[in-house]
Structures are given as C-alpha cells and as structure tokens.
Subunit: 332 residues, 4 copies
C-alpha cells in the first residue's frame, strides 16, 4: 500500500510502497483510511522537533488525525464491524491501568500514539485497536470529520471541563480563533449559555469567530482584565499566557491549551483572588464520541481543503506558507 | 473598654481605653471577646506592610482571629442570641452579591475585614454582623478555638476543595507542617483515606506532623517528583512553589496556600501532563461552621499559649523571636 | 392602592382599595408591580385548597409571579436602587440559615412566600426584601418576564440540575409540554446538546414543542421504555409517574416536577439498574438571575396574554375554561 | 479439580471433580482460589430463585466472592502476573461499551457474572479476565478480603456516592448493621466526618455497630423523622423503605441498597421538600481497588469463619440456621 513516510529529519516525506498491516491481535482493528488531517505537528515531526520525544525509528508513516472504514477486526473486537465508518482516537490505550479504568484514558500508562511514535494514518491502511475507534453516525463521512480527531478533540475536552464553571451569562474569553479556537467557540455555543468573547490579532480570524457565533470579538486588549469566569487560551505563548491569566476575575480559571510560552505568577496573586490555572491535554474516547455527536448535529463544522495522498508535500507547502485556509485533508 | 491599638506603623501597639461600640444596626452583633489569636500578620500590620493595602486610618484596633460571647444583637438578628458562645468569620459580608448568594462569600463584593481594615478583636468588645458569627457547640470554649478563625479556616478550606481529588490510597503531599499545615493534616485525616506525606525542613515540625497522624514525613527531597495527586503547599515561597508543582503526578493538582514566591512554569509542562494550579483563600462561613464541628468532635486540636490582653507586646516578642510554640491567644 | 384580595374561600377575589405598604425595615424593598402572572395555583387558593397549608388570615392579596420597578428601599439595601426594573423571587428568605448560606435558599428555614402566606403581587405595590429582587437587563420589560418568576423558575431549576447528566447525544424525555415543559425544552436547548423527546397527549402542545426546538415529539407511548438518561416529568400524575420512571435507562434519573400522583416502585427495580428519583422544587435566587439572562438573550420566550388588574376574574374564567392560551398576565 | 456444583434446583450442591480451565484467551486470567465467600444469594441460587434470571445451564459452579493467586495469564494481560495475590471483581466486563469507557463498568452492556451466570469460585480454580482482577497489597491475604468482593463492594459504592453529600456534622442514618451495614459504617468513618446513626432491631447488631464506631445506635424509631442528610438503607423491605425515606430531611437523599420491599411516595412529598431516592448497585472496579486500600489500612475489617471447600453444605446449614456469625469463607 502507499504510505507517507519520513526517512530522515529535515527532509520531506516520500510516498512509499509498504506491506499492508493485518489485524493479527485479538483487539486489532485495521482501518482503510478515508481521510488524514494535516497538522502543524506534522511539520514539526519532519523538522525533527519530536525525534527525541517520540523515540520512533525511521522510516515511519506520519498522520495522527484519521478516519475511515473498518477493513478487518481481531477475534475479540465487539464494538465495530467490517465496513463501519469510524474516526480514530489519537491514542491506542490499554484499558487496564487506573486512568483507563476511570474513563480518563488520555492518561493511560501504556498508550501508543500512531503517527507520532508508531505508524500513522497518511496511508491506505492503519492498524489500531478496538479501544481507539468511534463509530460514525449514519451519513457521517470520514473526510468531513478526520480533522476533529486531534485538534477538535483538544478543544472539545477543554470546553467540556469548563462547562460547570460557565453559568448562563458567565463570561468566557477565547484567546485565538484559529483551528482549535473556532471549534472551541462552537462547542461553547452548543453546551453553554455563556457570553463568548474572542481575542485574536487577525481581523480575518475575528470575522470567522463572529460567523461561528462569538458574541464579541476584539484584538488583544487590556480592557478584559479581571473579566472572565473562564479563559480558554488556545495560544499559550507570546504574551497570551500573561494576558490570559490577567483576564480571569476573582475565583476565575485560566485554561492553558496552546503552548510555547511560560506562566509566571506570584503566589500572592493566586491566593488573594483564588485563581486557578488548568492544564488541558487531548480529550478522552468519550469526549471524541461526544464531539462526533456535535458534528452529526451540525453544531460543529470545519473548513477543510482536500488533497490526494500523493500531494502531501504540496499540502505541507501550503500549510507552511499560509496559503492553506482551513485544515488540510489527505485523501488516499 | 480596653483595646490593642496601632497608632503609628513601626511602633508597637498600646493598650488604650476606648468607647464601647454598640449594636446600632439591625444586623449588628456585639461580641464580648473571649480570645483573640495572635498571627504573624499582626506583626506585619504593625510593621506597616499592610498600610496601603488595607487603607485603614490610624489609630485602630487589630485582631482578626476572634471568639467570644454575644453581648448585644440588632433588631433583625435571628441566628444568635445574647449569651451564645461564638467564633467570628474573619469577614463581615453583604449577603446580597452573587458570591454571597452562591455560598462563596469569601468573594463578597462588599466585605469588611475587622482587624485589618476596621477595628478588630484584641479588645474587650468587637462589633461585627450576623453573617459573621458561628455558634459554638455546647461546651466548646472561645479560647480553645479562636485561633482557628483565620489560619485554621484557610487550611480547612483548601482541604475541603481537595477532598474530591483524594480517593482512598491517593497521595497528598503537605508542604509545611507549621500552624496551618498541621491543621491541614488533621482535616485530611478526618475527611479522606488518602496517604499523607508531610515535607518540612524542621525535625520538630515533622515529629509533630507524625503525632498528628501523617503517614510519612520527610525533609525537602527530590524523591517525591511526579508522586502526588494533590500537593497542599502551605509555604508558597523559597523554592516550595517549584518543588510542589514538580511533586504532582500526571493530572495532579498543586494547591497554593502559602505565598511570597513565584510560580514559573512552561505552558508545555501544564499541557503535556494536564496539571493544575489551584489558588486558595480563606474559607467560607459554612467552612468555618464545619471546622467547628471537627473541633467539637476532637478531630482538630491546636497547641496554644495564653496571654492576658495587656501582655500583647510580650506575646509579639515571643512570636517574633521564635519563643512561642503553638499559637498565642490574647484573653481580655 | 388597588389589590386583588381573597375574602372567603370558594368565592372569587375582589378589587379592594387598601393602604400602601412602605419600606419600613432596613432590608425592605417596595416594588411597583408591572405585571403579575396568573397561575393555576391562584385558582386552587381561591378554592381553599391551600387554606390549611398556608395558614394565611383572610382577607389577603394573591399573586406570586411578580415583576415591576423599585419604588422605595430600606436603609441597608445595596443591590437595587429606586427605579430599577426587577423580577421577584417567589420567596423572601433570611440569608442566615445554613441553606441560605450555601446558596440553596429555597430551603431557607425562615422564608415567607408572598401571594401564598402573605400579601402578594396582584396589586399596585408589593413589599418584599432585598434578597428577593433580581435586577432586569437594560430593555427587559417586567411584563415580558413576570410569568417566569415561579413556573419558569421551577423548570429552569430542574434542567440546571439535569445538565451534568446530559452529555451531547444523551436522551432527555420531557413529559408535558405545557407552561413549564416548554420552558424546560428551551432551557435544555440553551444549555445542553442532548436529544430532546417531548411526550404530550395534546397535538397542539406537541406542535408547540417542535416549534420551540424539541427533536422528537410523541403522544404517550411504551416505545420509550429504558431509553432516557434523564426524564423531566412536568406532570407527575395520572400515570406519568409510572411511565416516566420506566422510560429511564440503566443508571438513569427520573426528575419529578409535576405532582398529584404517587410513585410506586419495588426496591429491587431501583437497585438492579441503579435508577434515581429526583425531587425538584422552585429554583434559587441565582437560578432566577440565570433564567433572566436566558430570557434577555432571547433563548427563553413565553406566550402571554395581558389583562388589566381589574379584569382578574375574567382572566380566571379564561384560565379555568381553557380559553387562555399561554400565560395570563395582570397589569395594574 | 474440585468444584462446588449445583446439579438441580432445590438440592444441595455436590463436590465434583471437573476439568481444570485454562487461560486460553488473550485477556484470560486463571486464578487459584484462596477463599470464596458464602453469601445468602448462594442459598437462593440453590433454591432456584435465580434460575430464570441467570439463565445458567446446570450443572455449574457457584461462588461469586472470590480471591486467590494468579496461576496463568493470557498473552495480552499486562496488569497482573503469575503468583500475584488478587481479589476478583464480581463482573467480567468488556471494556468497550460506553459504561466501561466512562469508568462505570457495573453498567457494562456485555458483562458475565461468574458464580451467577457462569462457573464461579467455589472451586480450586476460576477463569476470569484481566479487567476483573485487583492486585492485593503486600501482606494482604485472599482469605481476609474475599468476602468484600461483593457485599463489601456494594456498601463501599453507596458510601462513596454519598460522601459529597456528607459535610462534617451532617447526619447519616444507616439502616441495618448486618454484613453490608457494618462495612458501610466503617467506610463512612474512613471518608467523612458525618454523624452516624445506626438503626437495627437487633441489640447484638447495634452493639457491633457501636464497636465499629457508630456515634449513635437505636432500635427502629419515629424519632429520626426529617433528620438525615443521607439515609443508607441496607434493608429495603419490611417497612425500612418507608421509614428510611421519612428519615431524610429537606433536600435529603434516601439511598436504597437492600431490597425486597416497595417504595410508595406521593409526588407532592418528593417535590415539596426536594427529596431524592438513589438506587445503588455493586461498585466499579476502581471502587473495589479503593476498598482494598481501606482494608489494607485496617480501616475496614470483617468477622469471618473459615470452612474447608468440602464442608460447603455444613457452612450452608450454619448460614441457614443462623449459627454462622460473620461471613462464611470456603478455603479450597
């Protein structure tokens, strides 16, 4: 089969012919890829930024936002059948550690991360396990949802954690209305009656946020200091981390989702007004199932642009140079 | 009546004769002080560190950890009667703002703080309001509990917030087993089945923590990195803030209670393991009522040393020079 | 001033001239009534069904769904000012008991209930206290919201409690799409992404429910057995209570809001599938504030028909005979 | 191997020689039984009361409270190793359905229940799966904990759900201080600072409850009406269900754990004081892990009496005739 493989860091991946994997293990699920999202992390992998962290051996296949159809299942798989349309949770988890047993499977002690530390989904087929596959609703297409598998899931997860803090009329500031942020806005609208204020330096991103239903949009400003019950920071660097924390009101919570910067805060400032800083990782399996429900309802939609699998480098060029509006989707 | 009043910052307070206050307003409660706790904050007030923050006009009476008996009540007071033994919540709150209406009265928009920004309890009488007084259990003595009104309440509040995170066998690290920390250990034992590890550089404090029931005690160490579901940091400075955050495990929470230092953490470190930093202020009125229940049950006890009100400066000397083991209590 | 007063049970109220109340107490608030909702409970009061329960002395003024403008405030009132448009929480609570201190003021130990056990709002003026008044948003009119003060608040409260049980795609069955039920549907849509199924024997009510956004509507049926994560039963009698409980799935919750019938269930049936039965009373002060936010956003709307205060008996006739579609509103 | 098998309902089981099971499947775990608890349910099975419900084919091996040592594991088992001492969760669950994914595995769509609907643990060996085995702490003996696997787990689960409702000083009534109830009391003491009142008609049970730490004990009485924040009813029949509900105070919760009777309550009574009725099934896998922690800490202990496996009918006689104080444990 064809697969997008990295052979050396610093060099673009190539389209290789590789042997097809098979569902040899009892919980294996072999998926015929319908669409694989292209993510900025893929560029970072190619550049070698993840070399040490992932510890993966080259060459290997990238692609960690995957959806498709079940081609083959192991003997013990009971939750999907051959032919089912599915989206893949980014992690393949063990189901046995305390985190998995409590539904918090993102913190699985034994997970693998296809596309990062093992072969991913920019290929005709991907091998994962039964715990990673979420069945799509009738009519829901892999190519319409693939890009929600990681970026969208992260946004959904943070919003889901924030929901209990957001009573009707509470203020939620969303920093960054890019790929994750505009999913975040849609999730907030679907699950809360909070007032949503989007902060983004780009006029185009602000316009998009408004179209998606944000109640107010603004360029970065000091006017929001001490305002928000919750700040969802999808940027997490270049000053957003300080500004975001400052935007929380007494007893407010600053949710860190984007990263790159550093939070620096005197303990007295956390104490005297009882503020919280909440870390956020990708969502759980159930988070992904729920996000698919929002997508099936039409509550969450994505702008995408499709490329054939063989055009991966063209897609990467477009992403790198800013020519790609919306998420790039590779279709084998 | 006699009152301990500050006349000038940088100079010790004097014992003055001042007019007795009266319960003139409908919700006023006039309390005959049975005991007023002496706190390090009182030294800081005298030094002038709070001058700007409190904005109080000199001279005024200090003392913010108070208990006693109701002497007189306003026409609308229905929760206490003359003669009742009471402990005083440190804040006198409005009862009408959103925070008060939601039970989160520490974040009251209109609170006063007797002993900080208005006349306090190192005196024969203190005027407060009906919302600040918690009735003691039969047999519970003001002098036995006064020092719980602020320090103890802060420790209780943090523990109460941490309880849902502490399943049986979960690990809770307590940094600092001083005045607040050893109350924290007792509250944890009363409300959870967590494993409690106390970190303190002082061998005497560690010994005390063990007597109060800590399961393990240790001098500051790197061995606890990535260990705790919850860290309760009663120090919050001099390296505790970095060490405390490092002690949390994946999805763990670092509770900041002490202060003075600065938390510095790359956003990637909060994201990648989904850690939280939780600010903590003093507890609510109900927190104080519940802490009094723990004290009445004998689950929370305090080491105290009593001084007559007139010996306030001797008590301050003892506190300043480290001669005072346990909490100092002024008895009018 | 004019007031609608009951002089004898079994006889219709009369429009009397009575002395104007004044804001004599420190927390009193005198409200110029802009609109008073007419409720089936008012018919029951007139019939004498509440005589024993309320213990009120005749004659007295009815009306427990009130909104208007602040005419006069007591000396200690800080949350509203003369001229403010307000809606009135049905209870005037004490603010001092444990329930009030915890934000659960519906369970206040010392509440009065104007229009039930003391003079109500079908009059030109109503005397209540500062804890009962919620300021309206700019432009929000008393006559547009008065009927939300009791019926709407009850629906909102039940939905608010159900929200954490309703993940996206979860099933919520709403039994009864009358006055409360159609508010419930709107609240569900504003705060959840659940699938909403409305059960009502009336085709007209079902049609209305669909217009308000219910995803499915049906006449009473057995097809919903073991289906719902949450059932909100706004009927609570005539078989709804048995059918409603049967509609919950494993680990589901049956919310009782309407009343009149009896729940009868073998303990084995509660155990073996771990079902819950949740009682629901009117909402808290903050619930009312949040419901006003939903109304101001346009997320919750009401069908009303206005009558002048003097036409109260005509309005009662219309309500009794079913000629009154929507809620009746008396405007002084 | 030897196994206690039921050949015909209404007749006592016999000790048969049967082939040894093997860990053939990838997630299979074969356990050498160290102890199997004898439960009243075993008597009911033998009498035929479960014949229809379980649908099991005779003959089969009973025993659903099991602990022992791992003898053999399937190829994919990573959470236990040969030789580990383990206790067995009563259900063998699938790990793939929504309930399992959310940590609520008791509501698994595909569970089997060894000892009820498949071969159980009154035998030398039992075959279960990796998701059912909880590793014991060093030094923790199978025979000391086996009887906690079902009865104890049910009590723990109910208490765990009640903990957030039980602030220090809140009142918890425990109805029935038998096998489950006295575990419940110990769990309450370990995890709350609530006031615990035990209601039991037996003076001996009350005495035992006191020894285990109940703050008050009483024979059934009307004096507790409107008293409890939480009632844990371990009886659920013969009047306990009506009395238990009546003991809850406003906004209180009645937890049904025992069964046999019928709850009958007018909806008005649930509404007007906002009471709840909470069904309770056996606990989850994590509940069992946490209960083992309490047992290892010495917070939960059991009275047991051991019998050799071959003496099962003597043990059943003792249980039936009331000669067996504490739980009977069969040791192969």
């Amino acid at each position: 089969m064809k697969a997008v493989r990295v052979h050396a860091y610093g060099k673009r991946p190539t389209i290789d012919d590789v042997p097809e994997p098979t569902a040899a293990g009892p919980f294996d699920v072999l998926v015929e890829i319908g669409a694989a999202g292209l993510c900025r992390t893929d560029l970072h992998i190619v550049e070698g930024q993840w070399a040490e962290k992932s510890g993966v051996s080259l060459p290997y296949t990238i692609g960690h936002e995957n959806a498709g159809w079940v081609r083959e299942v192991g003997s013990a798989v009971s939750n999907v059948a051959v032919g089912d349309a599915v989206i893949l949770h980014p992690l393949a988890t063990c189901g046995l550690c305390r985190a998995c047993r409590g539904g918090d499977d993102v913190h699985c002690d034994n997970a693998t991360f296809p596309g990062i530390d093992s072969d991913g989904g920019m290929a005709e087929l991907l091998l994962t396990n039964a715990r990673a596959v979420v069945k799509l609703a009738p009519g829901q297409e892999p190519r319409a949802v693939a890009a929600l598998a990681d970026a969208g899931l992260t946004a959904y997860h943070a919003v889901r954690k924030a929901v209990p803090l957001l009573h009707p009329g509470a203020t939620c500031v969303v920093i960054g209305a890019g790929g994750l942020g505009h999913i975040g806005v849609q999730c907030l609208l679907a699950m809360t009656a909070a007032r949503i204020i989007v902060v983004d330096p780009s006029a185009r991103a602000r316009e998009l946020a408004r179209q998606f239903g944000a109640h107010e949009v603004t360029a970065p400003t000091d006017d929001l200091t001490d305002t928000a019950h919750v700040v969802l920071d999808f940027v997490g660097e270049q000053g957003a981390e300080a500004a975001g924390l400052a935007m929380t009101r007494r007893a407010g919570s600053y949710f860190v989702i984007g990263y790159g910067g550093t939070v620096t805060v005197p303990t007295i400032d956390l104490i005297s007004t009882e503020r919280n800083i909440i870390g956020n990782l990708v969502g759980s399996y159930l988070d992904l199932a729920e996000l698919m429900t929002l997508a099936a309802q039409g509550s969450v939609t994505l702008h995408t642009r499709e490329y054939p699998l063989g055009a991966v480098n063209e897609a990467m060029d477009d992403l790198e140079t800013g020519r790609l509006a919306g998420r790039g989707i590779l279709v084998p």
